[in-house]
Subunit: 223 residues, 2 copies
């Protein structure tokens, strides 16, 4: 059984991505981050998802990105609410965390190297997404190329490290259908950028709106 | 005055690199890492160097790379001693920390984005080095290419982010001469991988041997 490192935020996309890696037969090492996000409820979701999907190990790495600021997810900046699809399509929102996926992938790369794994899974998608630069296919390709020059395995030509981004070209409705087919328990996942008491989703941030739209279009109930 | 993010380990190379950035007129934001290295003496050196060279701000980011293991610098693996130049030239040593420079540059990228800086300095060198994959010019080039796709600024075409690695093609003796010319206080820096009591260098690890060779060849005294 081959090892894979799977980035896991606790949201629907990364849970689906992990379930896909499991179905493909990988022994999965799940990696989450306590990066100074204002809401830790997603880390609880990540732990539930990792346990439910039977990973080999789950590491929650503490990395204080809040030291740098610059995002509504780590600093005291208001999360935008009730934006239309047109508004979401325009520019990069304040919920963008500078270089977040670059950093997350770099830690995954470190762990993959130690595990002698040549497979990293990340649940980014470029269609129904929030306009983040580090969710685009050209970013993932450039990252993979760099990663193959960065490591011992790459230099020694022992392996070709692959960044798997299986949701990259899927819309939210397709992801919901895929998750349903894979048996992902929706109730374990968490998507909201601005949860209320007891982690209840706000229903109005981009993440909540995209999630709702996905379930509606897929004709599946979000429990 | 333009802002630059400067990676600073506390060693001679990164101190020289920071001094160069200062001479080029940048307002410097120094970034060091408490990455679970067994010896914290290098962080004390980084603080001394940052203060001596007049940086705008110095952040020491805590990132627990020791959670992944796999290196003599973070796990209980013996640091090799008294290796010849030929031995150093052969393969990648156990002091290599998986994906370390990839991770360090990713945090620098995050900070640069928040500071709206398009300049990152890193003191890697590819000649008299220890055989690390992430100190090679092809790695730095691939990283820069990726970084320009990863960020808001890159996507909006506002700027071209540059990874400056001014020591890349210099030998250790040339770095020592340059540091001397720039007025870097050698006594503030720390290079040893395996320091003894009170941070005294062991004199036998690759880093100590390369440093000694550099000073000898430059004909300069290492205080």
């Amino acid at each position: 059984m081959r090892n894979a490192v799977c980035l896991l935020s606790g949201g629907l996309d990364s849970a689906t991505c992990l379930a896909l890696a499991r179905r493909e037969g990988y022994a999965c090492y799940a990696l989450s981050f306590d990066y100074g996000q204002r809401h830790k409820v997603e880390l609880a979701a990540a732990r539930r998802v990792a346990a439910a999907l039977g990973v080999e190990r789950h590491i929650v790495a503490a990395i204080g990105l809040d030291a740098f600021g610059g995002s509504a997810l780590t600093a005291e900046i208001a999360v935008p609410k009730a934006r239309s699809a047109a508004e979401m399509g325009r520019g990069i929102p304040v919920t963008y965390v500078p270089a977040r996926n670059t950093i997350f992938l770099s830690f995954a790369l470190a762990w993959a190297e130690v595990l002698e794994s040549s497979d990293i899974f990340i649940g980014v998608n470029a269609l129904d997404y929030s306009g983040y630069p580090d969710c685009r296919p050209e970013f993932i390709q450039a990252y993979e190329r760099m990663a193959n020059l960065a490591t011992k395995a790459g230099v020694e030509g022992r392996t070709h490290l692959k960044i798997h981004a299986p949701l990259l070209e899927l819309g939210k409705a397709q992801i919901v259908k895929l998750a349903h087919e894979l048996g992902v328990k929706f109730s374990l996942t968490h998507s909201c950028y601005d949860p209320g008491a007891e982690g209840r989703p706000c229903g109005q941030c981009d993440a909540c709106l995209l999630r709702r739209k996905g379930f509606e279009e897929a004709g599946i109930e979000d429990r």
